[in-house]
Symmetry: C2
Subunit: 348 residues, 2 copies
């Protein structure tokens, strides 16, 4: 038994990382049902529902000390965010979330009132996004808190969007702006360090409302799915931006077997994100490329749809899809070409 | 923030227990979709699928040190069991599981080879029960291991069985035998204590294969659902026995608004369970009533179906449903009447 634990003859998980581990495991997975349309490898699994619709399923685990820090995350915001990050995966398939189930493990450090705060946030998100909390499991745990949410949604069969449909010459489009959640986290981490050194000093959070909210209480882009319907846009590929633009565009390109060119000057960055990045001596573009947790949507559309997105306030065309041999490139403001490398969040 | 943590003005979760917490939270839950047929409160949630079928969803969280102990649980068995306990909830609705999604959090104490062992067990259960692993999430955690599985299944609309359909005079039937998983755990805990005191002593597990397997590698009663089909049995209510017979019959009775009489002499207990209980100075009936983790099915059928179950080797008729005012009673072998009280597992 203990042979399988840390031991120099065995492989530490850090050697593979999260994506490496998933790829490794995926190789041994077999499907037994023709009703399973798509398994591991997209934002959500796809299952036959009826003549017109597919069912979508996605799951996310959030762990105290890894994904959230209760020193600066109010429990109500945490509950809200836990739901939102799951719904985002359903929207990324061009679908509509309908139900969630929730597992919650809390140590005896948490009181009923604390758990009520968490649920207040969960139920607020359920109301805002019109999803039904239909089941769950609760348990104690020796230390900390673990939240697992599984979201169930549906999508019209002819509207579903996978990661693997991007075609050469397609435009690459991103919603909203990027890097804000990461800069919000940077501020919270800085103020936490100050607080731990001197608990009497009040945290300096003023003027950072937008990026703090991006980190603590993000929203999923339900509105974008409605815009697609209204504007008659059918993306050729789509993914939600949870691990940073670099990581996500690589998922789309690798699964679609294409290359890409992204223009630095086109990447949407809010002025608050930009100013704070400068203050922290960080490159704003790097924050947008690798920051993560923005929960915006990244998608591709045929060139012929350009008119539908060009003046839309929620959309930024940031580049285009190339042939696979061109690989994955970021064209800087000065015109130099940088290969795109996924940094993202490496939890292992 | 910290006000919501342990504090004498607030309510510790242990005051409510798991079921109390679920009931408390459930009060604030609203449903927004008519497609949500049944939410919290049964073995699985029920969602409209198509003209003939419902979709079933259930989720379970398993935590190292609470639900399993890696000192005596081989990782492959653990993976197998993690799947089985979820599938059991789908069978308890008279349904068929089709897919699962899996979240896994492991500390850096686990190597790739350890995670592979766990997945080998998960995929073995998937093969045996013909379910597709269609998605998941992986993360690191500071300490221990957390496994969350959500199972998705389906059931014909006219075949679905809830907890709340038991009627006066219905027969109460249980599958297999009870208390074995609990006695298996008792042996493993005893041998663990011996091992911790003197690691050189080999564990004494001989002659206990059946009850050890009941604990370490239980099976879900897929075969029973097939027997219902073959014998044309449509239970009026059903639940799986995860927390002990006492706890489960109370769920059925309270949700069906009925009472029950259960006959001690009719409760099926394997001879190995019986002998070991005696050896541990435990009452075998108490082990069956409150032991938990048997993953058998408890169901009710109309009296007119008695002939279908009476000589079946997998079924034991253990009592009958009474009017609600009669409450919940266990009739001992000597004829004395004991009120049934749920002990079950109290994780908080």
């Amino acid at each position: 038994m203990s042979d399988l634990f840390q031991n120099k003859n065995f492989t530490p998980l850090s050697e593979l990382g999260e994506f490496g581990l998933i790829e490794h495991i995926q190789k041994n997975v077999k499907h037994y049902h023709s009703q399973t349309i798509k398994g591991i490898g997209d934002d959500a699994a796809v299952i036959e529902k009826n003549d017109t619709h597919y069912t979508l399923i996605t799951t996310d685990i959030l762990i105290e000390g890894i994904h959230f820090d209760l020193i600066y995350s109010p429990l109500k915001h945490l509950g809200y965010k836990a739901v939102v990050v799951n719904l985002s995966d359903i929207y990324a398939m061009n679908g509509t979330p309908k139900q969630i189930v929730l597992s919650l493990a809390v140590s005896n450090r948490f009181t009923l009132e604390a758990v009520e705060e968490l649920y207040a946030g969960i139920l607020l998100a359920c109301e805002k996004y019109q999803v039904d909390l239909v089941g769950g499991d609760t348990s104690t745990i020796h230390k900390g808190m673990v939240i697992n949410i599984t979201a169930i949604g549906e999508v019209e069969k002819n509207k579903i969007v996978y990661r693997n449909g991007a075609k050469e010459k397609d435009l690459i489009v991103v919603t909203g702006d990027l890097g804000g959640a990461f800069m919000g986290l940077k501020i919270l981490e800085r103020e936490k360090a100050v607080f731990l050194e001197n608990p009497k000093i009040q945290p300096d959070l003023e003027g950072n409302d937008y990026i703090l909210e991006r980190q603590l209480k993000p929203e999923a882009r339900k509105d974008i799915i409605e815009e697609f319907e209204r504007l008659n846009i059918q993306p050729t590929s789509m993914i939600d931006i949870s691990d940073g633009l670099a990581s996500e565009i690589l998922h789309i390109c690798k699964q679609s077997n294409v290359g890409c060119e992204i223009y630095e000057e086109k990447i949407p960055i809010d002025h608050q994100t930009y100013e704070k990045a400068r203050e922290f001596n960080l490159d704003p573009t790097t924050c947008a490329m690798n920051g993560g947790e923005d929960y915006e949507l990244l998608f591709t559309i045929p060139l012929s749809d350009y008119d539908k997105v060009k003046n839309h306030p929620d959309f930024s065309v940031i580049g285009y899809i190339t042939e696979p041999s061109k690989k994955f490139n970021l064209i800087s403001k000065s015109g130099t070409v940088h290969p795109i490398v996924a940094q993202g969040w490496k939890h292992f």
